[in-house]
Amino acid sequence: MNLNIDVAGIKLEHPVMNASGILGSTYNDIAVLARAGFAAFVTKSFTREKREGYGTPIAVPISETLSLLNAVGLENPGLEGLAELLDSCKIFGKPIIVSIAGSSPEEFVEIAVVAEEHGATAVELNLSCPHVRGRGLEIGASPSAVREIVGIVSSSINIPVIVKLGLVDRLVEVASAALEAGARALTLINSVKAMKIDIYAAKPILGNRVGGLSGKAIHPIAVRAVYEVYRELKPDIIGVGGVFSWEDAIELIMAGARAVQIGTAIIYYGPEIVREIVEGMKRFLEQQGFRSIEEIVGYAVS
């Protein structure tokens, strides 16, 4: 059985890609992902200018729940670095999705245009970063801001525009605004704004104090988000949040996702975890008598 599927018009050999921010900044990062067997690669979120990021620690494991708190600060090599990265990664011959974290509609467009010129398969607009002011969650919580940015980016490039949203109150409304403005798919969800304090040092641990929670702890939140948006709008969805096993991946797909991304599981288990997840999904489909991934997309939604 093969696990072929398409999402936002992108053909995938199987539904598992990395999540933005986990090994997507350099050629070597992508080489590591390619060797491990990911179906597509998502870059770290890019900004126009190079960014240094926050002071360390930039991530704190919360091992009890196989979770992680991070505040990297959107560290990335900027537009120049993006062009170089895309040119060098053509040799892998797999779809590459460029994540963008702009602070204005113009910045999103500028980066999207460079991404298209240098051969990106699609762009993923990060409208949900929980810890960088003015980039991310504030935009993604407002249907009108989402409509404006997605609209202008969609009309500026020909490659598919994917919109990544986070945990916001009016998620279905925001999702609907993104789709109406031209998004071909939605990535759900980003990490969830959170904090961890060391009670002996009596201080928040992260250099930035506040960060984003990812991993197992947010998996049920991701499943709910995907389910609700799928039930109301039936768009193409890439599910992300706490996928550590093939069961977790199948769960998101049954909630309505056509593909999944994994982040924190790569950190805890190493990039090779993708093979186990893919093999497990195959076995499950065979045992349960399904003929393709397509058949179980939204299978649990009523």
């Binding site: 990062d29 091992s63 990297v72 040092a201």
Partner: protein, 269 residues
């Protein structure tokens, strides 16, 4: 498979000679869910109010983690001079040093605080190898850590500790650099050692690579490298080992010299 954890820890020991740039610190985990480590593992040690920096675990005994720290910038200076009562440890980072498969004579070469992972390594392999020669080189005597006292290295009959100091020092068996020691004291007998592990400043590792390359013995040499480390958890890509596609905080810090041909060409030449 790694299982990372955050471990709050409390200072239980601070050993430093007057004005020494080097100190030994022992921190005890304040949780029962502390992580176990093997020699070669390091951790991100968070100094509240400062940063989190990569430090080799020099020894672990239950909840007690040992570190050897040398002053370089603000965080290491704080640790050496006035270590905080409480820190946070994130780890274990990296992969264990590949252990010799069986018996044999093992040579360990540690330059400065580079000795840290090799102490831990020596104490774990001593039980099953024929002999361990631990050569510890420092620039001046005030940098010298009393390994035999603090780590009780002498408890193993088959571990020999040799101290090499660049300036005159009564504790030293040999005056000079580690490379001088190898040239003068070991010379042609290099091949008597089944495996050689080295950790220390980059210039030292480069010279050692050359020595072993010339002798045709690269397959016996393992180098413990350093790169800039930011996340320590394998996601940021900052610690790529030059000339390889390996991440130091996942695949390193110890790598067989055979894999380091391009590293040598990039870094040492």
């Amino acid at each position: 498979m790694t299982s990372y954890a955050y471990v709050p820890a409390k200072l239980v020991k601070h050993v430093r000679k007057p004005n020494s740039p080097v100190a030994v610190l022992v921190y005890k985990a304040l949780t029962t869910r502390f992580f176990p480590s093997l020699p070669g593992h390091f951790c991100m040690l968070w100094v509240p109010g400062y940063e989190a920096i990569p430090l080799s675990i020099a020894y672990q005994e239950g909840a007690h983690y040992y570190f050897i720290v040398k002053k370089r910038g603000p965080t290491t200076t704080k640790l050496v001079e006035d270590p905080p009562r409480y820190v946070g440890l994130i780890g274990p980072a990296g992969s264990p040093i590949p252990a010799p498969s069986s018996g044999g004579k093992i040579l360990l070469l540690g330059g400065g605080v580079g000795i840290a992972p090799l102490i831990y390594f020596a104490t774990t392999i001593a039980s099953y190898v024929e002999s361990v020669t631990l050569v510890y080189g420092v620039r001046s005597s005030n940098e010298l850590v009393e390994l035999d006292q603090i780590f009780n290295v002498n408890r193993f009959k088959n571990v020999e500790l040799i101290i090499v100091v660049e300036e005159v020092c009564e504790r030293a068996v040999f005056k000079g650099t580690l490379i001088d020691y190898i040239t003068v004291k070991i010379g042609d007998r290099l091949e008597e050692y089944d495996r050689v592990y080295a950790s220390g400043p980059q210039t030292f590792l480069c010279k050692l690579y050359e020595v072993f390359n010339r002798a045709g013995l690269l397959d016996r040499l393992v180098l413990v490298l350093e790169t800039y480390v930011r996340c320590g958890l394998g996601f940021c890509g900052k610690c790529t080992i030059p000339g390889t596609s390996k991440l130091l905080c996942r695949d390193g810090p110890a790598l067989s010299a055979q894999l380091l041909k391009n590293w040598f060409a990039k870094i040492c030449v």
